[in-house]
Every structure is written in structure tokens, then in C-alpha cells.
Symmetry: C2
Subunit: 314 residues, 2 copies
Amino acid sequence: MELYFLGTNAGLPTTQRNVTSVALRMLEERRSSWLFDCGEATQHQILHSPLKLSRLEKIFITHMHGDHVFGLPGLLSSRASQEGSPPLTVYGPAGLKAFLEATLNATQSRIDFGLEIVEHSGGVIFEDSQIKVEARALEHRIESYGYRMTEKDRPGSLNMELLQEWGVRPGPEYGKLKNGESITVNGRLITSDQVLGAPKRGRIVTILGDTRPTPGIHPLADGADVLVHEATFTDEFADLAHKYYHSTAVQAAEAAKKAGVGELILTHFSSRYKDQDQLRPLLQEARSVFPNTQLAIEHQTFPIRPSAQEREKE
Amino acid sequence: MELYFLGTNAGLPTTQRNVTSVALRMLEERRSSWLFDCGEATQHQILHSPLKLSRLEKIFITHMHGDHVFGLPGLLSSRASQEGSPPLTVYGPAGLKAFLEATLNATQSRIDFGLEIVEHSGGVIFEDSQIKVEARALEHRIESYGYRMTEKDRPGSLNMELLQEWGVRPGPEYGKLKNGESITVNGRLITSDQVLGAPKRGRIVTILGDTRPTPGIHPLADGADVLVHEATFTDEFADLAHKYYHSTAVQAAEAAKKAGVGELILTHFSSRYKDQDQLRPLLQEARSVFPNTQLAIEHQTFPIRPSAQEREKE
Ligand SMILES: [Zn+2]
Ligand SMILES: [Zn+2]
């Protein structure tokens, strides 16, 4: 499980950064990636990345501003032109369906794979045996959501040494023990407790849309291993941030600290910060409040690690 | 007057080429540029070019396929975010208005400059004292147009040596002579005929949308100084070209030859041709029919020169 940033700029593209999109890669876990937001030219960014359009399983839209959705029709059309792409679901606020239908119909774009469009207004919007996705409204000029992905706890590891000593071979017996059942081998009763380690806590990743500081962030970010938070401005432009319903780096760090997250990744930077050098003050300001902070960098991978306190438990 | 190619690939972007867009730069003539088609990430291409969004005066859409229009909403939004952008008109087939209204409304994009959307079905769609634009239907899977830009003849140059000899100073007298009027200086009657060279023939540029070979190309391209023609495939895939309503390089060259154009520029290449090397057969095949052929290259400038026969006349 890792994050791969495809666009980290606010409002419009620059020569240095593209408009917003980030992928949650879960190749090991479910052989697919999820996309969060899809600004114009996200498919172009994907061409220069290890991601594959056909492996995209879900796309979550935080809000219907153009710099977060104008890449959707093109990305879906290009994915459709690749034969054998599996179905894909797009989640987002009201208006998403009309936008996609209008653009795809006007251009007579044929989407051959199963395309499901789910408009939501928060709550648990997806859940299966591996992962749960909750959405919650933030505070932006228009309806904007954050998404909290909670991975289900995974069974602990089997004690292979002990199993070998007791003569249990890999096979269906292993599955039973993992499921908490007991088995009898060579006349010996072996209980799951004896050979199964503690379950591994599932990781939590929270990815927010554009927002001012708002109490709604807390339940989304509470105890998350990684929080992706917009940081459009440095502290000096706190007034602008408020006026345009955005956050400063310090405000993002305060939210991270309050929610007790493991790691904070800042993204969605104003075009006024031209390059990595000019972004450094955002990082410094955030770290003064919440030390374990990173700046999102396009075409870089950020692994989702269980946060420190959990690692100690294991 | 020159062409600047922003996208030359058919259907979808590749790591080498973007989807279709070409600018007609007329900085000397009218201090503006016109855009023909606007595939996704055209605004990104413009960021890496000498073009300026604020200097765009008109955008002509050849047809409503996604790879020719998905860049429009983002480009217009970014242009609107630059203060003081002058008005802009977008021309295109039926469906353009609904597409733009749906995308801009769904994303609450505020377009502060005067945005006029003109849907047409061919004919003279624009004319002023400098230039005339005629559109005509081609033969594609959906309604697709070519555009013929005819520059008006410009007055000839004044004979500066003679004027100096006769003591005529630069000023309103020059304007009168250029307008065909006579003047009297130092008691001498000077007629326009005596000092004004032959008028310069306006240039003709024809830019086609996606099309199969069709008689409609002839009136659009007849005697054009430069013809921009799609060449999706090499001759070997003539069947594919026909099936998908596209042209081969040879078919483009045949149209150029028949219409007696000055120069042919091929564009809109299939993704199967990965780089300049792999495009070379298209050029060779076209040149075997029409020698004065070029391949469109992104971020390169192609000047519009009066074609040879006209230059001889001058
Ligand atoms: Zn934004
Ligand atoms: Zn095309």
C-alpha cells in the first residue's frame, strides 16, 4: 500500500506541477490502484508513471472543481480504448454523473468497460472484506469530501518453525489454523492460538479534498497512519486561505497533531510557490507543529506504514 | 503568420505526442493567435510554448471527438484566472455549446472574459477586413469540418526612394497614397500608381479535421499556400483508414496535388508510429505523390509563405 502523487498544484497546471491527483496503489493487497481526483492531464502523468489505466479499480472525486475533474473524460476514454479493461467505479458528489454523461455523450465516447458512477453525500460508501471507505463533508466553497480508507485487520503470521517441528505441511491445514480452527496431526491437537501470531492491524489512510480547517477533519483523520492534507499557502497568507476556503501548512499540521496521525503529507500547493525551494517554508512551518510531515512530490512513492505506536505493539 | 503544432497524435496521448491542437499565430498581422482543436492538456503544451492564453482570440473545433475537445474547459478556466484576458470566440459543430455549458456549470467555473460560442454548419463563419474563414463538411464518423482562412490582399509597398526624392515625408500623405489617392507636394501631383507597388496577395491556409478522402476537400484546399491534412496511417493500413474514416499519407498527398497547394503538412498520426523514425514512411509515401510535404512536429514553427507561383508574380 503506497501513495503515488500525479498532481500537487492548486487551481491550474504550471511548468513544474500538475493539477490534483493521487493514486493509492494496492498491488499486493488487491492487484489494483485507486485514484483520488483527476485533474486535466492525469492520464498524461500516468503515461510517465508505473501505473496502468487498466489496473485502476476506483476513482474518488473530492469535489467538482475543474482542476480536480477535467481529466476524467479523457482518462476514461483512453482506458476504454485499451481492450479488456475491467469495470471501474467513480465516486463523487452530486453533479458528477451529469458532468460525465454530458462530456461522454457530446463526444460520442464509447466506454466499453463497465463504468459505474456513484454520487454520495458522505457515510460508508464502499466496504468489502479488505477495506472500508468512509466519506465526510469538509468546508470548501462547494461541497467537498475527505475519504478515510480503513484496511481490515489481517490475520497474524503462522509460526512456521513450530508447525514444521510438529510435522504440519503447507496446505488446507494452514487455512484452518489461520481461520482460528484447531486441527489434529499425528494424534496431536493443535489449536490456532498455539501457532498464530497476533492479528495485524489494518492501516488507515485519509485523503482530504480542498478545505478550510473544520471539525469534520477529526473523525476522518483520527489515528490515521497517513493523512494527505491540502496546504495551499504559507502562514503569511492565512487570510487568503480563509477567503478562498483553503488551508495553510500550519493548519494542516494542527489537524494532524490533534487527530494523532502517524504521518502528514502536504499537497495542493499554490502556483505562487514555483519549485521545491519555494515550497520549503511550507514544510518548515508544518514541522514546527507536527514533525513527521512530508511534502508530496509528483512521481514519488510514499509507502503507508503502520504508525509507530502500532509497530511497538506488534 | 505561422503554424505552431501543440498536438499531433490521433485518439489518445502517448509519451511522445499529445492529442490534436495547432495554433495559427498572427502576431504581426493581428497581435493574436487562433487555435484549431483543443485536445486534453493543450494548455499544458501552451505552458511550454511561446503562446499566451490571453493572446488567444479564437478557437475553431473541427469535430466533437474527445481527443479534439477535452482540453477546452480547462484551457478556458485557466485563461479566466488570468486577469484582463480579452474576449474569445469558440466555433464548432452542433453539440459544442451543450458540452461547454455542461462542463463549466458542473464545475462552477467562472469565465470572466467575454466567451462567445458559435455553432455552425459550414459556410463563411467569420470575416473582417483582414481575413475570412470558411468551413465545409468533411467525411468522418461524426460531423467534421475543415477551415479555410483567406487573408485579404494587402496594399503593395510604397517606393520609398522615389518619395524621398520628391520630398514626401512619412505621415498622412503615405496613408492617402496607400489608399489609392493622389497628393500634391511642392506643386507636384503624385498619383498612387506612380509610387505604390502591386498589392500583395493574401495567403490561404487550410486546416482540416479528421476525414476520409472526400470531394469536399477540394474547395477548401484549392490553391492554398499551406494545407494541414490528417495522415493517420501509412498506405499499408488503407483499409483501417477507410474503416475508421481517416486518411493515409498518400491520400493526403493526392488531395494536396489535386488542389494545387503550395505546401502540405501532415499531422494526426496513429499511436502505432512511436517516434520520428517510425513516422518517416508516412513522409516518404506522401512525397512520392506530392514532394513539398512536411511532418508536423510539436513545438515547431511552420511559417506560412506565399506559394512559389505567387512569389514569381510579385
Ligand atoms: Zn483545488
Ligand atoms: Zn482525431
